[in-house]
């Protein structure tokens, strides 16, 4: 005999609790991962921009623009960096990595600003641009554009992996809760079976397991049997 009604709410509660835990942790994790990755992304890019700016001082002072171009060509090999440009103190573009030309949006922007900005360049995509001044800006500025699409992909990948893990935990947790409830309900089902038999012919034939238990269910089973026996003797005396 199975016990359905009594543990239905318990099962649902287990499932709901797991669901809430998984969803809330996922939400928190997505936010954290997304924020942390973006912060790290921008921070790394700022470091690169600063590195280029620091390395550019002597090169600019020597008017060696070929070496300057060679320098930024190497940094643009880094996966997330899609473009770099260096402007002079007067805003002239001294070196850049744009092909086939410098986009109009970049030409129209303020080259002296090193604020982090979001850029949408037609035909190229969405970018986060960070800047760094060279010699506090008196020698020019370095601007580094990072692929926002790549950042999104990285976030999606990281979140996707976490969601996959949480999904597996949810399924396993639900199955475990079902098993645990069923396991907990089995002695009660045996007791119920015993009670049905005692109510029928008054005999507890085949219920030795539940009668032999040394826990509360066993005591209750023996009490049921005792009550049933007493009731039978009373009937015979009458």
């Amino acid at each position: 005999m199975r016990v359905h009604k009594l543990f239905r709410k318990t099962r649902f509660s287990f499932f709901a609790l797991f669901g809430v835990i998984v969803l809330s942790v996922s939400f928190l994790s997505i936010r954290t991962v997304s924020r942390e990755l973006e912060v790290e992304y921008v921070s790394n890019s700022r470091s690169i921009a600063k590195n280029i700016a620091d390395s550019s001082v002597d090169i600019l002072l020597n008017r060696n623009l070929a070496t300057l171009q060679s320098l930024i060509d190497q940094f643009v090999q880094i996966e997330s960096i899609r473009y770099i440009y260096i402007t002079s103190d007067t805003g002239e573009f001294l070196a850049h990595t744009f092909v086939p030309g410098i986009p109009d949006e970049i030409l129209a922007s303020d080259p002296s600003s090193t604020e982090t900005v979001d850029r949408s360049l037609p035909g190229m995509g969405e970018f986060i641009e960070v800047g760094s001044p060279i010699l506090s800006g008196v020698a020019g500025n370095v601007h580094v554009g990072m692929d926002e699409e790549l950042l999104r992909l990285k976030i999606q990948r990281a979140v996707g992996q976490q969601m996959y893990l949480f999904g597996i935990i949810l399924v396993i947790g639900t199955l475990l809760s079902f098993w645990f409830v069923s396991f907990s309900a089995r002695p009660l089902a045996d007791l119920m079976s015993l009670a049905v038999k005692l109510a029928g012919d008054g005999k507890a034939t085949g219920e030795e397991d539940v009668l032999g238990r040394d826990d509360e269910v066993g005591e209750l089973a023996r009490l049921f049997t005792h009550v049933a026996d007493g009731s039978a003797r009373g009937d015979e005396g009458r």
Partner: protein, 465 residues
């Protein structure tokens, strides 16, 4: 890897093998690149990773006696070459090599230099910086060449120079690279290289001056987006500034672009700026594509190229298979750093013509292995092979001046002893501690028939309508 050797019987040289560039990891690429740019701090790590070079060897590597470095055998002097023998610019490395081989063949057949034959150890870098850095280290560390010679390209040479600085104790110099860029002409790397050709600064200044003189003041630039292109761009910018002008417009392309690629986007960018002339700083495939699309889109203004372009290679691309071979060459004007190979009044040019015809050096065999589906057709004569020829002629003279026991430590002094030397190209060559470029003259050429010929009248050819 064999180095090229002259057939003792007097025939063509047995071609050297050209291996693929060594496999390089992302980390080593970035490391070598940064080392190449910033010199000692990073380069030391390269040295450490490779066992080190100083002192004629290190742990695990047999030390070679210092005086014998670069002298493979008693009768050979080995010149290390890293150049483009594959890829879209392979014509440059190949023709430069052929010109040099024409001279070395003749030289070696006649006893070499002070009894020693001159051979070239070739490595292919495909005109890519990182393989060039790796090749340079290999040539210096493993091959222990006597000197480096005939390197091709600015992005490659720019990155190889810090390697020379890092291993400066070995006194390996880079001779006559096929680039007019400034990095090997200016501190901090000028002391490690000797140039023969005029610089891009001189070439672009000459082009700008001539354009301005005929009223073409709005000059735009089409350039390869790397150190080479930037070097030329900077030259144009400086030259225009002297005339009170700025660059009228600019468009770029990526290194390695093929002739089959469209350059219409670049042409349209420049069309919007209405220039009077365009100066191209690029390689023959991309510049040929630009010249083709410029004519097709109605950009009928002079399109100038600097010497690195490889004039004959570009002309071949523009004329091949066209009903009117000159339909796309009318507006071309190319600057050169050697005189016309048709000018046989010059002794070196005459000698070049004779030796190219006599030996007709083949490209390295392995070039065909690297690019099996792209057979390379050599040119009987070209500006690039003529430059290779005069490079070889001068390096042989320098080695000759070092006497019977040439040592690296004596190279610089031998070069500085070259003063007012008649190389046979109509301009005397001098070197000194503050003069590390032998030739200064720039020549201008236009297409006539199937070759570039000297431009005599700018106004008549390209004057404003």
């Amino acid at each position: 890897m064999e180095h090229s050797k002259t057939d003792p019987a007097g025939g063509n040289p047995s071609p050297p093998t050209v291996p693929n560039p060594p496999a390089i990891t992302r980390r080593s690429l970035i490391g070598s690149g940064l080392a190449a740019l910033f010199g000692a701090p990073f380069a030391k790590s390269l040295s450490g990773a490779d066992g080190g070079l100083a002192g004629g060897g290190s742990a695990g590597r047999p030390a070679a006696p210092y005086v014998h470095r670069g002298l493979r055998q008693d009768d050979e002097i080995v010149l290390g070459v890293s150049a483009a023998f594959s890829g879209p610019s392979r014509g440059l490395g190949t023709e430069l090599y052929r010109g040099s081989m024409a001279y070395f063949n003749e030289l070696n057949e006649n006893g070499g230099v002070n009894g020693r034959r001159i051979v070239m150890k070739l490595l292919d870098d495909g005109y890519q910086p990182d393989p060039c850095v790796a090749n340079t280290i290999e040539l210096m560390q493993d091959e222990r060449v006597f000197l480096l010679f005939n390197y091709v390209g600015t992005p490659t040479v720019t990155r190889a120079l810090p390697v020379l600085k890092t291993f400066r104790d070995q006194q390996v110099f880079l001779f006559f690279p096929f680039t007019g860029a400034e990095p090997q002409r200016e501190p901090p790397y000028d002391e490690f290289a000797f140039n023969l050709r005029a610089s891009y600064r001189q070439e672009t200044a000459g082009l700008v001056d001539n354009f301005v003189n005929i009223g073409r003041r709005r000059v735009a630039v089409f350039y390869q987006n790397d150190a080479y292109g930037r070097s030329g761009w900077a030259g144009v910018r400086e030259a225009l500034a002297r005339h009170g002008e700025t660059i009228a417009g600019e468009a770029t392309y990526t290194r390695g672009t093929q002739f089959s690629a469209s350059m219409r986007e670049q042409v349209n960018i420049l069309l919007d700026r209405s220039p009077d002339a365009v100066i191209c700083i690029g390689a023959y495939q991309a510049c040929g594509a630009f010249a083709r699309d410029a004519v097709d889109l109605g950009l009928h203004i002079p399109v100038a190229n600097v010497s690195f372009v490889g004039s004959e290679n570009m002309l071949q691309l523009l004329q091949e298979g066209r009903p009117d071979p000159n339909s796309h060459t009318r507006w071309l004007v190319n600057s050169q750093v050697v005189p016309s190979y048709a000018d046989t009044s010059l002794p070196a040019v005459q000698e070049y013509g004779e030796l190219m015809e006599r030996y007709d050096p083949r490209p390295p065999d392995d070039v065909e292995r690297i690019t099996p589906n792209e057979p390379y057709e050599t040119f009987p004569q070209s500006f690039v092979s003529l430059e290779g020829f005069v490079n070889a002629k001068l390096i042989a003279e320098i080695i000759r001046r070092m006497g019977d026991d040439p040592q690296r430590s004596g190279i610089e002094e031998a070069v500085f002893n070259v003063r007012n030397y008649d190389l046979g190209v109509g301009e005397r060559v001098s070197f000194g501690p503050n003069r590390r470029q032998g030739l200064q003259r720039v020549y201008y050429t236009v297409v006539e028939g199937d070759r570039f010929v000297p431009l005599t009248d700018w106004e008549a050819s390209f004057g404003m309508p």
